[in-house]
């Protein structure tokens, strides 16, 4: 599992790759806490490189999103195809991405 963070003036681009499941949950939680502490007001996640997720990842992403919102910040996720493992697993687990997160269309 790999997390790359690219800062720009006002936002952070967070690119996640590999498997984001329970074995990496502690690492992801630590990374997300660091992200919640940054000054940036907008975090955009590119999850297209994730090949597998489980409910620990869904909970962490949801938790980060709520924490940011409470602090006047915002989390967005780049749109993914319906068949993508992230979307499929989330749907099976009762979380629809488009209901819980702001979806951004990737351009360029």
């Amino acid at each position: 599992m790999n997390i790359e963070v690219t800062p720009s003036d006002t936002e952070l681009l967070v690119v996640m790759k590999g498997e984001a499941h329970v074995e990496h949950a502690a690492t992801i939680a630590k990374a997300f806490q660091d992200l919640a502490n940054t000054e940036n007001r907008l975090l955009t996640f590119d999850l297209s490189g994730l090949t597998e997720i489980d409910i620990t990842f869904i909970q962490l992403l949801y938790s980060l999103s709520n924490t940011l919102t409470k602090n006047g910040k915002h989390l967005m996720v780049f749109s993914l195809p319906r068949a993508h493992p992230v979307i499929r697993r989330s749907w099976l687990s009762g979380i629809r991405f488009d209901h819980h997160f702001t979806i951004a269309e990737k351009t360029g």
Binding site: F32, Q59, T67, K70, L92, S93, H99
Partner: protein, 650 residues
């Protein structure tokens, strides 16, 4: 996945595969038995689900393909045929390998291909890619609607539970809608990343029955409450597209729905090591209790004696309850024998039926396992040498189908298992000639019992050439060695042209046994009581003229004398008024063990030796006596086998 979960799955899967094999053999005999087809389908479905749940993907994938085959059969699209039974039995073998290795095998791929071919032959609609599911077309045909609540234990993930896999299984069942309750998810600084904060409400429309749906919950029940809270034959109104919000109004702390639908399996699985530890501890308790009784009797204090007696009653109850926990139906030892008969008979061109009687007789789990190999060898021997070819049986006015019967029953503190066939019977003359040739008996030997016993000698066989089934003279040796290890006995009865019966007698348990304490050279040893027939005052035997040279002739039977003093101390037993002759019969050999005196009778807790001391064959273990001293338990079978020189000067 942690080791506990892996072991749990492996235990469960082995049981399921055994049950699959039994059902397939049943189906072969009764192809119209729809309940057997349903049983097979359910077993495959469970293997598939649990395999996926515990990460055994190769097992799950393979089970899925076989499940498809039996789904076709239960829907009437495919008949039960020899082809389907054969592929089912081959799959059983393949499952066994897959479960142990958890990797795809070329053999499993081959079988999957054959399954697809069989299915297509009868149903051209089956696509070449059999992995593809066809649930989409069924959307409007669902007979059942279920509302399911899943309330996980927060620590469920530590037990290796994968809820996503459960959801995927339910999704495969029909139209699946899942709504997660997210209210309990804390902020990112408070979250424990490996805990479960979600809970779920699922609406499922499906053709599956309630019990089929509940089968999916089996492997997560210990970590989550899974309940079907409503079950209707009608499809409910569509759930609004908008998801349930995370508002506190629908708090996860609200009272859980009633549990009346929850199925209690009525048992819990306990690791064997835990049970062994309990038995060991109870053994210590029994020893300590005996010491306490001794002290209380010596003290002369009535109140002390009363307490010791009450404690004794309690410890006996605990001991019996603990021993009972280890007891399993002896059918565990019989598992797989039907298959041995099925496959071996087929290879030999014989028609053989295996009848099982008394499969519910209970026995210690370890003994049941130790009996498996001897039973397989006895059955194979009966199939190869006992049961005749159908043509020959017809010439002898016997039914063309031969019968092997295994019967078990409890007799006192022992279990007796008889393996009998209605075949040729042993060829005594042939055995005698071969035994003389191999110098195992003298040419003058006329005792049929002794002649028959040579079939247990290592390397002994009357076959001219060894086959893959028998003839190497190894099988019967294994039978005797294993039964000896269990402190058991084997007897043979045979009748030419009518058949042979092997009677195995083994103790109910190897942990605690009744023992006779004998004194040899001033040291106390233990003989297990289950093999003792009678105990005589040796003086009286001499007085009444029973002792003749090196044997005791008693009620027309001759018991050669075994002098334990001679073997252990190197000097003959000093004959006194206390000297005893212990009459016993082991594997057809009757002997009289002469000991200085009998020091008492006691229930003894058997402590097995470490690997190094296992090399002393005449001693099978040790125990602690009531006075706290250690006593060795003598292996009576070995004493007989070693033909300890008898004392000849009485």
């Amino acid at each position: 996945m942690n080791e506990d979960n892996r072991d749990f799955f492996l235990d469960e899967a082995r049981d399921l595969v055994n049950s699959l094999e039994t059902s397939l053999l049943k189906l072969e005999k009764t192809p119209d038995a729809t309940f057997v087809i349903h049983d097979i389908f359910r077993v495959l479905h469970t293997i598939k689900g649990s395999g996926a749940m515990f990460g055994f993907d190769a097992v799950s994938k393979f089970a899925h393909q076989l499940e498809n085959l039996f789904d076709d059969i239960r829907k009437g699209l495919l008949p039960v045929s020899q082809e389907t039974i054969t592929i089912g039995l081959r799959s059983v073998d393949c499952f066994t390998k897959l479960i142990e290795g958890n990797e795809s095998l070329p053999e499993s791929d081959l079988i999957i291909g054959e399954i697809a071919r069989i299915r297509r032959k009868h149903n051209p609609a089956v696509p070449e890619d059999t992995v593809a599911e066809k649930v989409a077309d069924k959307k409007n045909e669902y007979a059942h609607h279920y509302d399911i609540a899943i309330r996980p234990n927060p620590l469920a993930l530590f037990r290796g539970i994968k809820f996503e896999v459960l959801f995927a299984k339910l999704d495969e069942c029909g139209s699946f809608r899942n709504i997660a309750e997210t209210a309990r998810i804390p902020d990112v600084f408070s979250i424990h990343p490996e805990e479960v904060y979600l809970s779920w409400d699922i609406a499922l429309d499906t053709q599956k029955t309630r019990s089929e749906i509940e089968e999916n919950f089996v492997f997560i029940r210990e970590c989550a409450e899974c309940e079907i809270i409503s079950d209707s034959g009608k499809k409910p109104p569509e759930i609004p597209e908008q998801e349930k919000t995370t508002s506190t109004a629908e708090s996860p702390h609200a009272p859980a729905p009633p549990k009346e639908h929850r199925v209690d399996p009525g048992y819990i699985r306990v690791k064997r090591e835990k049970l062994d530890f309990l038995v060991d501890t109870v053994g210590e308790l029994v020893i300590l209790q005996a010491q306490l009784m001794r002290e209380s009797n010596a003290s002369g204090t009535q109140s002390f004696k009363n307490i010791a007696e009450q404690l004794e009653r309690l410890s006996v109850t605990i001991r019996d309850a603990t021993m009972y926990m280890r007891m399993v139906p002896i059918e565990e030892a019989f598992a797989g024998l039907q298959r041995v008969v099925h496959d071996t008979a087929k290879r030999l061109g014989k028609d053989v039926r295996l009848d099982v009687i008394g499969a519910n007789t209970e026995i210690d789990k370890n003994i049941a396992e130790a009996l498996k190999d001897p039973l397989i060898h006895l059955i194979r021997n009966s199939l190869d040498h006992g049961i005749e070819l159908p043509k020959i049986r017809a010439q002898r006015n016997k039914p063309e189908t031969g019968t092997i019967t295994i019967s078990a029953c409890q007799i006192g503190t022992s279990v007796q298992i008889v393996v009998a066939d209605d075949g040729n019977g042993l060829n005594i003359e042939k055995i005698r000639a071969r035994a003389i040739d191999k110098k195992l008996i003298s040419p003058e030997e006329a005792d049929t019992g002794k002649i028959i016993q040579v079939i247990f000698e290592p390397g002994f066989s009357t076959s001219e050439k060894a086959t893959s089934i028998s003839g190497r003279g190894v099988g019967m040796d294994i039978v005797r060695t294993n039964i000896d290890k269990l402190q058991g006995d084997i007897a043979i009865t045979t009748e030419s042209g009518r058949g042979t019966a092997f009677t195995l007698t083994v103790p109910l348990t190897l942990m605690i046994t009744d023992g006779i304490l004998v004194s040899i050279g001033g040291v106390t040893y233990v003989l297990t009581l289950n093999l003792v027939q009678e105990c005589l005052l040796f003086d009286n035997c001499i007085r009444d003229g029973f002792v003749q040279h090196d044997a005791i002739n008693y009620h027309g039977r001759t018991f050669p004398i075994v002098d334990l003093n001679q073997y252990i101390c190197g000097t003959h037993v000093p004959v006194s008024g206390d000297t005893r002759a212990i009459l016993t019969s082991i594997e057809g050999n009757e002997i009289a063990i002469v000991a200085e005196r009998i020091a008492g009778k006691q229930q003894v807790v058997i402590k097995p030796f470490s690997t190094n001391l296992e090399q002393i064959p005449v001693v099978s273990g040790a125990t602690i006596l009531a006075d706290g001293s250690v006593a060795l338990i003598l292996n009576m079978s070995e004493l007989v086998k070693r033909r300890i020189p008898a004392f000849c000067d009485f």
